[in-house]
Every structure is written in C-alpha cells, then in structure tokens.
C-alpha cells in the first residue's frame, strides 16, 4: 500500500482508468453475446473468437502482417545499428543535426510520409505497389525508434571498454563481435520487437502503400464500416491488443534486464 494516499494517488488511479478503460471495453464486448457493443451485457460467449478461425481473408491478412513485420524488424534493426554506433561511438562532425534529422519521422505526420512514399514509388520509380512498398515505408518510420533503443543501450558503456579490447589485440571487426554486439544484444532484441510491433500495428502508411494484399490493420479498417462485422472486429481487436501488450512487456523486460551497468563501483 502507498504510504500516503492523497489527491495525486487518486489522480493516478483515475488516469490509468481513463487510459485503459476504452481499450478494455473491446474484449468485454467481444466476449458479450450480442451483435451490438451495448450495455447491458447479454451473456458470456467465445463464439466471436471461434468464428475467426473460419475467416480466410482475415487469416491471410494476419499472415501478411506477420511477414512484413518480421522483415521490417530485421531490416530496420540492421540499418539502425551502424547509425547508432556511429552516433554514440564517434563524435561525428555534425552529429547533432544528423541525429535530429534521423528523428524527423517521429514528428512528421504519418500521412505525409505515406503520400510522399506513394509519390516516389508510383510517380518517380514507377514501381507497382506491393507488400515490399509497405515494408519500405515501415522501415522508414521504425528506424528512429530502433535507433533510440540501440543508442540508449550503447551510450551506457564506458568508452574505454572498446579501447581495452583494441589494446588487447582485437581489430575493429573482432571488437564488434566479441564486445559491442554481445553488450548491445538486449537492445538489439528490444529493437527487433519494437520494429515488429510498430509495423504490425501501423495503418496509415500500409493503407497508402499496399497493393492488392491487405495487412491486418488495413483489413480491420475495411471491416469497421460494416456494423454486422462489429463482433468479429472486436474479437480480432482484443487479440491484437493482448498480443501487442505481451510483446511490449517482453521488450521492456529484456531491455531492463540486459547486462548490468559497466561503470566501476556499480554492483
């Protein structure tokens, strides 16, 4: 129990309720035996979840999303790693501006990124829209997140660790594989998870860049218009929420756990 229960505690609890309330209504209604998301609840059922198994277009969209999300996670982590290394290890001239530039996708409205990519892909390169174009768009928005995760991991290290490795006879390549990579591993894993989650949940860019195949959020969006599909959407939404939450918690735990601080005297 908190030592002091006061207004701030009360506020925190109300805040958490506000934060989670609307989202948690979804599984509540998904498990409700009724066609509308309305109170009073009619009764408990799992038929909305059971019927998902028969929904081939949804399963197809799910598979598509997983494929894209996995490739995006790997690609953006691989691309973010050297950038994160360069920015944390070497005081690059103009490192500050480069860093802020890299973070641009965080603040540009995703619709602008979506249409900009649409333009370059269709009008400039004349490439057909496909899952690859969606993946490319997702890599672009994932890189800043992956970079900040990797950088916060890499920044914590004593720079003399790498000097020590070099002093003990390791080339730059050996130092990377024997020292930097193992130390950054928790960051790499959470970067992968983060890339996966962002790509899996992303809608606007996928909506603009997808060809004939749908990702799961695009599929979901197309279903939102039909009231009779509501229970199915609620069931699907609940599963996505639970899945995302599990992944986020896993990413956080791995990040927090990682090798302990490298500072001397820090036990």
């Amino acid at each position: 129990m908190p030592k002091k229960f006061d207004m701030l505690w009360l506020y925190a609890i109300i805040f958490i309720m506000f934060l989670y309330g609307p989202v948690l209504l979804m599984p509540v209604f998904a498990l409700n035996d009724g066609t509308f998301a309305t109170f009073p609840l009619k009764g408990f059922t799992v038929k909305n979840f059971a019927s998902m198994a028969a929904n081939t277009s949804m399963i197809l969209a799910f598979q598509t999303s997983v494929k894209i999300a996995v490739s995006v996670a790997v690609l953006s982590t691989v691309l973010a790693m050297p950038a994160a290394l360069a920015l944390t290890r070497y005081r690059l001239p103009g490192g500050g501006p480069i860093q802020s530039f890299m973070m641009l996708p965080l603040v540009i409205p995703s619709i602008v990124i979506g249409v900009a990519l649409l333009v370059i892909i269709l009008k400039i390169f004349g490439i057909q829209l496909s899952l690859w174009t969606v993946a490319a768009g997702h890599v672009l928005i994932c890189i800043p997140f992956c970079m900040s995760v990797l950088m916060s991991r890499l920044e914590g290290f004593d720079p003399s660790l790498e000097e020590a490795s070099s002093d003990l006879g390791c080339s730059a390549w050996q130092t990377f594989w024997r020292l930097t990579f193992p130390l950054a591993l928790p960051g790499v894993i959470s970067s992968l998870l983060m890339g996966f989650i962002i790509s899996f949940d992303e809608f606007v860019i996928a909506f603009f860049l997808t060809g004939t195949e749908n990702t799961l959020p695009v599929y979901l969006f197309s279903q939102l218009r039909f009231p009779n599909k509501l229970p199915g959407v609620l069931a699907l939404g609940s599963l996505i929420l639970v899945g995302s939450a599990v992944l986020v918690i896993a990413a956080e735990i791995i990040r927090k756990r990682g090798a302990p601080s490298s500072n001397p005297g820090d036990y």
Binding site: F15, I16, M102, L104, V107, V115, V119, L220
Partner: protein
C-alpha cells in the same frame, strides 16, 4: 540512410510543382497548385463567423480547424500528463519500471484500435449511451457524443497522452532533489517551490512533449475518419482524399507541403514566444 528520408520529401516537393490534367500528369514546373490554395476571391466563405477570402477555401478552413483541434488536444494532453509524470517522478519509489511499462503499453498497442475503442465508447449505440440508458438516466441516445470535433479532440488526447508523459517524466526525474530541499530551506512553501523550481526545470521536457503531440496530430488521418464524422474532418482527410479519391496528387502534395510549412511556422513562433533557447540553456 539520410537519402531514404530526404528523397520522399523531395519527391513530394517536386510533385507539388506539377499538375494533374485529367488522368495525365503534366510535368512542367508550375506554382499553380500553390496559387490555387491562396487565390483570393471577393466573396468570402464564412466559417464560424470567420470570413475566408479564398477562391478554394476548403484547405485553409481545414488547416485552421486542424490547428485549433490539435492545439486543444495538446493542451489537454499536457494538462493530463503533467500530474501523472509528477506522480511517477516524485511519488513512486518502488516498482518504477512497472509503472512506466503500465503507462507505455497503450501507446504501443494499435493506434487504429485505440481510436476504434472510442467509437465503441461514444457511438450512438455505444457504451456511454447504452450504459446510461440501462441505468435509466436517459431515454434517447445522446447524439452529440460522436462524429464531431469534440470527439476527435478527446480521442486524440487519449491516444497521445501516454506518449507525452515520458519526456515530462524524464525532465522531472533529472531534477536534483537537493534543489528542492534547498528551495524549502530558503523558505519556499510547497506551492511556491513547485512554481519557482520544479516547473521551470521541467519546462524543456514539457515543451518537447507538447511538440511531440502537436506536430503529428495536426495531420492525423485515422482519428477524424473514425470518430470525426462530417463535422470533424481535418487537413489529413483532405490530403488523403486528393490523393486517393479525387486523383489530384499534385494538389494533395501542395496541401501536404503547406501543412508542414504552417506547422513549422507555428512551432517556431511558439518556441520563440516562450524563449525556448533560454530554457534549454538553463539546463545543466
């Protein structure tokens, strides 16, 4: 790497100087699209009593509306997030990581679904209406809940509030606790101490949080589409419509570019007005 980011934006800029001619794309460079956005007309279009002297007033009206809605949502987000960040930084001593995960999970779960959840809450047959009806407070569903700018602002605030907590929390957490003790020692009451020490020192994180919310929400597309209805459309909807429905990508590009420029100007004015450089320089 930088190319990957710069190229699409450059392409967008280039496209905005082309024109759409039926199904053909006219590749001669022209400022026609921008001219169309700012061309004046003698007959003003009145929107909420504000006269717009534009021949094609839709973008200007939507832009202003989007800015006002985003600003309202941003103020709401900061007002909601600051006490929570304060709570995390100063009141939580154990299980801090758990609390932070608890706060951040919603941000990582699907944006689409979080917005959709509000539709479920506010809808004509939604949770609020049916709930209130069930306990007998109202007879008829309250129609004003969904499909209006208010619903968009509420949903935006809810969607982004978790994101805003982190920067504020970090700047509060960084404050040396002995500074607070020193302020008390020098005779400040709790409130004065908060106003004279805590608030100024957490300003950089708060400003960053406000920008991180304001900038992306101006161009948001999902929220107004799902919960905005006809009255709650924003500039992002116009961009989408021009690109995908009206098949006038160059004009859409011009609108997108103008939107970003206006956002940049608003942000610059804001930062100048609060003296952000000074605030940052104060940080040790």
């Amino acid at each position: 790497m930088i190319l990957m980011l710069a190229l699409p934006v450059a392409a967008l800029v280039l496209l905005s100087f082309w024109t759409q001619n039926g199904f053909e794309l006219d590749r001669t460079l022209t400022v026609e699209n921008y001219a169309q956005l700012v061309r004046l007309s003698d007959e003003p279009t009145i929107w909420f009593g504000i006269p717009f002297y534009f021949a094609y007033p839709v973008p200007a009206i939507l832009m202003l509306k989007s800015l006002v809605m985003s600003l309202t949502a941003t103020i709401a987000v900061i007002a909601l997030a600051y006490p929570m960040a304060y709570f995390l930084a100063f009141r939580i001593t154990r299980n801090k990581a758990m609390w932070i995960i608890l706060i951040t999970i919603p941000f990582w779960t699907s944006y689409l679904l979080r917005v959709f959840a509000w539709k479920v809450v506010l809808g004509f047959n939604g949770a609020i209406n049916s709930g209130l009806k069930a306990i007998g407070i109202i007879d008829q569903p309250l129609e004003f809940l969904l499909y209006n700018p208010g619903a968009v602002v509420v949903t935006l605030a809810h969607s982004w509030v978790a994101f805003a907590i982190l920067p504020i929390y970090v700047s509060l957490e960084k404050i040396d606790r002995s500074l607070l003790e020193a302020a008390s020692d020098l005779g400040d009451s709790k409130l004065r101490r908060f106003l004279r020490v805590t608030l100024p020192l957490s300003a950089p994180g708060t400003v960053a949080a406000a920008l991180l919310v304001f900038i992306p929400t101006v161009g948001d597309y999902v929220t107004p589409t799902l919960v905005g209805g006809p009255g709650g459309t924003m500039i992002g909807n116009l961009v989408q419509e021009l690109f995908l429905k009206q098949n006038n990508a160059p004009l859409g590009a011009a609108v997108a570019i103008m939107m970003m420029l206006i956002i940049a100007v608003v942000v610059a004015i804001f930062l100048w007005a609060i003296g952000y450089r000074r605030i940052r320089a104060r940080r040790m």
